[in-house]
Protein backbone atom coordinates (compact mmCIF):
# COMPACT_ATOMS: atom_id res chain seq x y z
CA UNK A 1 0.00 0.00 0.00
CA UNK A 2 2.71 2.46 1.00
CA UNK A 3 4.40 2.10 -2.39
CA UNK A 4 1.32 3.88 -3.79
CA UNK A 5 2.06 6.99 -1.71
CA UNK A 6 5.59 8.11 -2.57
CA UNK A 7 7.20 10.32 0.04
CA UNK A 8 8.07 13.06 -2.45
CA UNK A 9 4.48 13.52 -3.61
CA UNK A 10 3.01 13.30 -0.10
CA UNK A 11 5.45 15.98 1.05
CA UNK A 12 4.59 18.02 -2.05
CA UNK A 13 0.93 17.86 -1.08
CA UNK A 14 1.62 18.79 2.55
CA UNK A 15 3.74 21.71 1.40
CA UNK A 16 1.03 22.91 -0.99
CA UNK A 17 -1.48 22.85 1.91
CA UNK A 18 0.96 24.87 4.04
CA UNK A 19 1.36 27.42 1.23
CA UNK A 20 -2.44 27.69 0.97
CA UNK A 21 -2.68 28.28 4.74
CA UNK A 22 0.00 30.99 4.56
CA UNK A 23 -1.79 32.66 1.63
CA UNK A 24 -5.05 32.60 3.62
CA UNK A 25 -3.22 34.65 6.25
CA UNK A 26 -3.76 37.77 4.14
CA UNK A 27 -7.50 37.30 4.66
CA UNK A 28 -7.45 36.53 8.38
CA UNK A 29 -4.79 38.99 9.50
CA UNK A 30 -4.71 42.70 9.04
CA UNK A 31 -1.78 43.66 6.86
CA UNK A 32 -0.85 46.42 4.48
CA UNK A 33 -1.44 46.02 0.74
CA UNK A 34 2.31 45.77 0.05
CA UNK A 35 2.89 43.05 2.65
CA UNK A 36 -0.22 41.12 1.57
CA UNK A 37 0.74 41.22 -2.10
CA UNK A 38 4.27 40.08 -1.29
CA UNK A 39 2.90 37.10 0.64
CA UNK A 40 0.55 36.22 -2.25
CA UNK A 41 3.23 36.57 -4.93
CA UNK A 42 5.68 34.36 -3.01
CA UNK A 43 3.13 31.64 -2.13
CA UNK A 44 1.55 31.56 -5.62
CA UNK A 45 4.83 31.22 -7.50
CA UNK A 46 6.20 28.65 -5.03
CA UNK A 47 2.99 26.69 -5.42
CA UNK A 48 3.23 26.82 -9.23
CA UNK A 49 6.88 25.71 -9.15
CA UNK A 50 5.98 22.87 -6.82
CA UNK A 51 3.32 21.55 -9.20
CA UNK A 52 5.70 21.83 -12.12
CA UNK A 53 8.61 19.97 -10.57
CA UNK A 54 7.00 17.48 -8.16
CA UNK A 55 3.77 16.60 -9.95
CA UNK A 56 4.31 17.38 -13.62
CA UNK A 57 7.71 15.68 -13.79
CA UNK A 58 9.04 18.59 -15.88
CA UNK A 59 12.70 17.65 -15.49
CA UNK A 60 12.51 13.92 -16.05
CA UNK A 61 13.56 13.21 -19.62
CA UNK A 62 15.99 14.40 -22.26
CA UNK A 63 13.37 17.00 -23.26
CA UNK A 64 13.97 18.75 -19.95
CA UNK A 65 15.79 21.73 -21.50
CA UNK A 66 13.16 22.27 -24.17
CA UNK A 67 10.29 21.91 -21.68
CA UNK A 68 11.76 24.47 -19.27
CA UNK A 69 12.61 26.85 -22.12
CA UNK A 70 9.02 26.63 -23.29
CA UNK A 71 7.61 27.20 -19.79
CA UNK A 72 9.90 30.18 -19.19
CA UNK A 73 8.94 31.60 -22.57
CA UNK A 74 5.22 31.29 -21.74
CA UNK A 75 5.86 32.82 -18.33
CA UNK A 76 7.82 35.77 -19.71
CA UNK A 77 5.10 36.53 -22.26
CA UNK A 78 2.51 36.24 -19.47
CA UNK A 79 4.41 38.64 -17.18
CA UNK A 80 5.01 41.14 -20.00
CA UNK A 81 1.31 40.95 -20.91
CA UNK A 82 0.11 41.51 -17.34
CA UNK A 83 2.64 44.13 -16.23
CA UNK A 84 2.70 45.83 -19.64
CA UNK A 85 -1.08 46.19 -19.45
CA UNK A 86 -0.91 47.53 -15.91
CA UNK A 87 1.78 50.01 -16.94
CA UNK A 88 -0.21 51.30 -19.92
CA UNK A 89 -3.73 51.12 -18.50
CA UNK A 90 -3.52 51.63 -14.73
CA UNK A 91 -0.25 52.99 -13.41
CA UNK A 92 0.02 56.01 -15.70
CA UNK A 93 -3.19 57.62 -14.47
CA UNK A 94 -1.61 60.25 -12.27
Amino acid sequence: MSELFPFKQVMGFVFSMVLTAVALGVYFFDMSFAVGMTVLLVTAFLQAGLQLVVFMHAGETEDKGAIYTNVYYGLIIALVTVFGTLLAMVWDMG
Binding site: L75, I77, T85
Partner: protein, 198 residues
Protein backbone atom coordinates in the same frame (compact mmCIF):
# COMPACT_ATOMS: atom_id res chain seq x y z
CA UNK B 1 7.45 0.04 -33.01
CA UNK B 2 10.66 0.86 -31.21
CA UNK B 3 9.93 0.49 -27.52
CA UNK B 4 12.50 1.68 -25.01
CA UNK B 5 11.93 -0.25 -21.78
CA UNK B 6 14.28 1.87 -19.69
CA UNK B 7 11.74 4.70 -19.71
CA UNK B 8 8.22 4.81 -18.21
CA UNK B 9 5.58 3.40 -20.56
CA UNK B 10 4.19 6.83 -21.49
CA UNK B 11 7.59 7.88 -22.89
CA UNK B 12 8.47 4.54 -24.41
CA UNK B 13 8.28 5.49 -28.10
CA UNK B 14 9.60 8.58 -29.82
CA UNK B 15 6.08 9.51 -30.90
CA UNK B 16 4.93 9.36 -27.27
CA UNK B 17 7.83 11.52 -26.13
CA UNK B 18 7.03 14.09 -28.80
CA UNK B 19 3.35 14.10 -27.90
CA UNK B 20 4.25 14.94 -24.31
CA UNK B 21 6.57 17.71 -25.46
CA UNK B 22 3.89 19.00 -27.84
CA UNK B 23 1.45 19.17 -24.97
CA UNK B 24 3.92 21.25 -22.98
CA UNK B 25 3.98 23.73 -25.88
CA UNK B 26 0.18 23.85 -25.77
CA UNK B 27 0.36 24.56 -22.03
CA UNK B 28 2.76 27.43 -22.79
CA UNK B 29 0.06 28.93 -25.00
CA UNK B 30 -2.50 28.35 -22.25
CA UNK B 31 -0.33 30.33 -19.81
CA UNK B 32 -0.48 33.25 -22.25
CA UNK B 33 -4.27 32.88 -22.68
CA UNK B 34 -4.83 33.14 -18.95
CA UNK B 35 -2.34 36.03 -18.76
CA UNK B 36 -4.55 38.09 -21.08
CA UNK B 37 -7.59 37.36 -18.92
CA UNK B 38 -5.70 38.38 -15.78
CA UNK B 39 -4.45 41.54 -17.52
CA UNK B 40 -8.05 42.48 -18.39
CA UNK B 41 -9.24 41.73 -14.86
CA UNK B 42 -6.48 43.76 -13.17
CA UNK B 43 -7.30 46.68 -15.45
CA UNK B 44 -11.04 46.56 -14.89
CA UNK B 45 -11.59 45.24 -11.36
CA UNK B 46 -12.51 48.58 -9.83
CA UNK B 47 -14.88 49.61 -12.66
CA UNK B 48 -17.99 48.38 -10.90
CA UNK B 49 -20.47 50.78 -12.56
CA UNK B 50 -22.54 51.08 -9.40
CA UNK B 51 -22.71 47.29 -9.01
CA UNK B 52 -21.08 45.23 -6.27
CA UNK B 53 -17.30 44.99 -5.96
CA UNK B 54 -15.14 42.00 -5.10
CA UNK B 55 -15.18 42.55 -1.36
CA UNK B 56 -19.01 42.47 -1.42
CA UNK B 57 -19.53 39.29 -3.42
CA UNK B 58 -16.48 37.10 -2.63
CA UNK B 59 -16.97 34.62 0.20
CA UNK B 60 -14.12 32.77 1.81
CA UNK B 61 -15.92 29.44 2.41
CA UNK B 62 -16.67 28.39 -1.19
CA UNK B 63 -13.31 29.72 -2.36
CA UNK B 64 -11.48 27.78 0.33
CA UNK B 65 -13.47 24.63 -0.52
CA UNK B 66 -12.70 24.96 -4.23
CA UNK B 67 -9.00 25.39 -3.48
CA UNK B 68 -8.82 22.32 -1.24
CA UNK B 69 -10.80 20.21 -3.73
CA UNK B 70 -8.59 21.16 -6.66
CA UNK B 71 -5.28 20.89 -4.78
CA UNK B 72 -6.26 17.46 -3.49
CA UNK B 73 -7.32 16.34 -6.97
CA UNK B 74 -3.93 17.45 -8.29
CA UNK B 75 -2.32 15.26 -5.62
CA UNK B 76 -4.52 12.23 -6.38
CA UNK B 77 -3.87 12.37 -10.12
CA UNK B 78 -0.15 12.53 -9.34
CA UNK B 79 -0.64 9.34 -7.31
CA UNK B 80 -2.57 7.88 -10.25
CA UNK B 81 0.40 8.44 -12.57
CA UNK B 82 2.72 6.98 -9.94
CA UNK B 83 0.51 3.86 -9.71
CA UNK B 84 0.47 3.68 -13.51
CA UNK B 85 4.26 3.60 -13.54
CA UNK B 86 4.19 0.72 -11.06
CA UNK B 87 1.83 -1.08 -13.42
CA UNK B 88 -0.94 -1.07 -10.81
CA UNK B 89 -3.89 -0.50 -13.15
CA UNK B 90 -6.60 -0.91 -10.47
CA UNK B 91 -4.95 1.60 -8.14
CA UNK B 92 -4.39 3.98 -11.02
CA UNK B 93 -8.04 3.85 -12.01
CA UNK B 94 -9.04 4.33 -8.39
CA UNK B 95 -6.95 7.50 -8.15
CA UNK B 96 -8.34 8.75 -11.46
CA UNK B 97 -11.90 8.20 -10.21
CA UNK B 98 -11.15 10.10 -6.99
CA UNK B 99 -9.60 12.89 -9.06
CA UNK B 100 -12.65 13.20 -11.29
CA UNK B 101 -15.01 13.17 -8.29
CA UNK B 102 -13.00 15.96 -6.68
CA UNK B 103 -13.16 17.83 -9.99
CA UNK B 104 -16.91 17.39 -10.03
CA UNK B 105 -17.03 18.69 -6.44
CA UNK B 106 -15.05 21.74 -7.51
CA UNK B 107 -17.45 22.40 -10.39
CA UNK B 108 -20.49 22.04 -8.13
CA UNK B 109 -19.14 24.64 -5.71
CA UNK B 110 -18.29 26.92 -8.62
CA UNK B 111 -21.78 26.64 -10.13
CA UNK B 112 -23.25 27.40 -6.69
CA UNK B 113 -20.95 30.41 -6.49
CA UNK B 114 -21.99 31.74 -9.93
CA UNK B 115 -25.68 31.36 -9.02
CA UNK B 116 -25.04 33.30 -5.81
CA UNK B 117 -23.30 36.07 -7.76
CA UNK B 118 -26.20 36.43 -10.16
CA UNK B 119 -28.66 36.54 -7.24
CA UNK B 120 -26.58 39.30 -5.66
CA UNK B 121 -26.86 41.35 -8.84
CA UNK B 122 -23.41 40.50 -10.23
CA UNK B 123 -24.22 38.98 -13.62
CA UNK B 124 -21.84 38.89 -16.56
CA UNK B 125 -23.24 42.17 -17.97
CA UNK B 126 -23.42 44.13 -14.73
CA UNK B 127 -20.08 45.91 -14.99
CA UNK B 128 -16.59 45.70 -16.43
CA UNK B 129 -15.57 44.13 -13.11
CA UNK B 130 -18.14 41.30 -13.25
CA UNK B 131 -17.56 40.73 -16.98
CA UNK B 132 -13.81 40.30 -16.60
CA UNK B 133 -14.25 38.30 -13.39
CA UNK B 134 -16.77 35.85 -14.83
CA UNK B 135 -14.85 35.56 -18.12
CA UNK B 136 -11.72 34.56 -16.20
CA UNK B 137 -13.46 32.19 -13.77
CA UNK B 138 -15.62 30.83 -16.58
CA UNK B 139 -12.66 30.07 -18.85
CA UNK B 140 -11.02 28.15 -16.02
CA UNK B 141 -14.28 26.38 -15.15
CA UNK B 142 -14.81 25.45 -18.81
CA UNK B 143 -11.33 23.93 -18.85
CA UNK B 144 -12.14 21.87 -15.74
CA UNK B 145 -15.43 20.74 -17.30
CA UNK B 146 -13.63 19.67 -20.47
CA UNK B 147 -10.98 17.96 -18.35
CA UNK B 148 -13.65 16.03 -16.47
CA UNK B 149 -15.01 14.46 -19.66
CA UNK B 150 -11.54 13.98 -21.15
CA UNK B 151 -10.44 12.14 -17.99
CA UNK B 152 -13.62 10.09 -17.98
CA UNK B 153 -13.06 8.89 -21.55
CA UNK B 154 -9.41 8.05 -20.83
CA UNK B 155 -10.52 6.08 -17.80
CA UNK B 156 -12.94 4.08 -19.96
CA UNK B 157 -10.19 3.47 -22.51
CA UNK B 158 -7.73 2.25 -19.86
CA UNK B 159 -10.46 -0.06 -18.53
CA UNK B 160 -11.12 -1.47 -22.01
CA UNK B 161 -7.59 -1.67 -23.41
CA UNK B 162 -5.41 -1.89 -20.31
CA UNK B 163 -2.08 -0.11 -19.97
CA UNK B 164 -0.39 0.21 -23.35
CA UNK B 165 2.18 2.80 -24.51
CA UNK B 166 -0.77 4.65 -26.09
CA UNK B 167 -3.15 4.69 -23.11
CA UNK B 168 -0.30 5.43 -20.67
CA UNK B 169 0.72 8.36 -22.85
CA UNK B 170 -2.82 9.75 -22.94
CA UNK B 171 -3.18 9.37 -19.19
CA UNK B 172 0.09 11.16 -18.55
CA UNK B 173 -0.83 14.03 -20.88
CA UNK B 174 -4.19 14.32 -19.15
CA UNK B 175 -2.41 14.55 -15.80
CA UNK B 176 -0.31 17.45 -17.14
CA UNK B 177 -3.50 19.26 -18.14
CA UNK B 178 -5.08 18.67 -14.73
CA UNK B 179 -2.03 19.93 -12.82
CA UNK B 180 -1.95 22.97 -15.07
CA UNK B 181 -5.56 23.82 -14.20
CA UNK B 182 -4.58 23.64 -10.55
CA UNK B 183 -1.74 26.11 -11.19
CA UNK B 184 -4.16 28.53 -12.88
CA UNK B 185 -6.55 28.17 -9.94
CA UNK B 186 -3.76 29.09 -7.50
CA UNK B 187 -3.38 32.39 -9.34
CA UNK B 188 -7.14 32.98 -9.37
CA UNK B 189 -7.30 32.13 -5.66
CA UNK B 190 -4.41 34.47 -4.80
CA UNK B 191 -4.81 37.45 -7.12
CA UNK B 192 -8.55 37.57 -7.67
CA UNK B 193 -10.11 36.24 -4.47
CA UNK B 194 -7.62 36.83 -1.66
CA UNK B 195 -6.44 40.14 -3.11
CA UNK B 196 -10.09 41.19 -3.47
CA UNK B 197 -10.90 40.28 0.14
CA UNK B 198 -7.69 41.63 1.66
Amino acid sequence: MDINHSLPLEYSTEENRLKIFGFWIFLGAEIMLFATLFAAYFTLYNRTAGGPDGAEIFQITPVFLETILLLTSSFTIGLGIHAMRLGRVKAMMGFFIVTLLLGLGFLSVEVFEFITYVHEGAGIQTSAFTSSLLATLGTHGAHVTLGFFWGLFILIQVKKRGLTPATANKSFIFSLYWHFLDVVWIFIFSFIYLKGMM
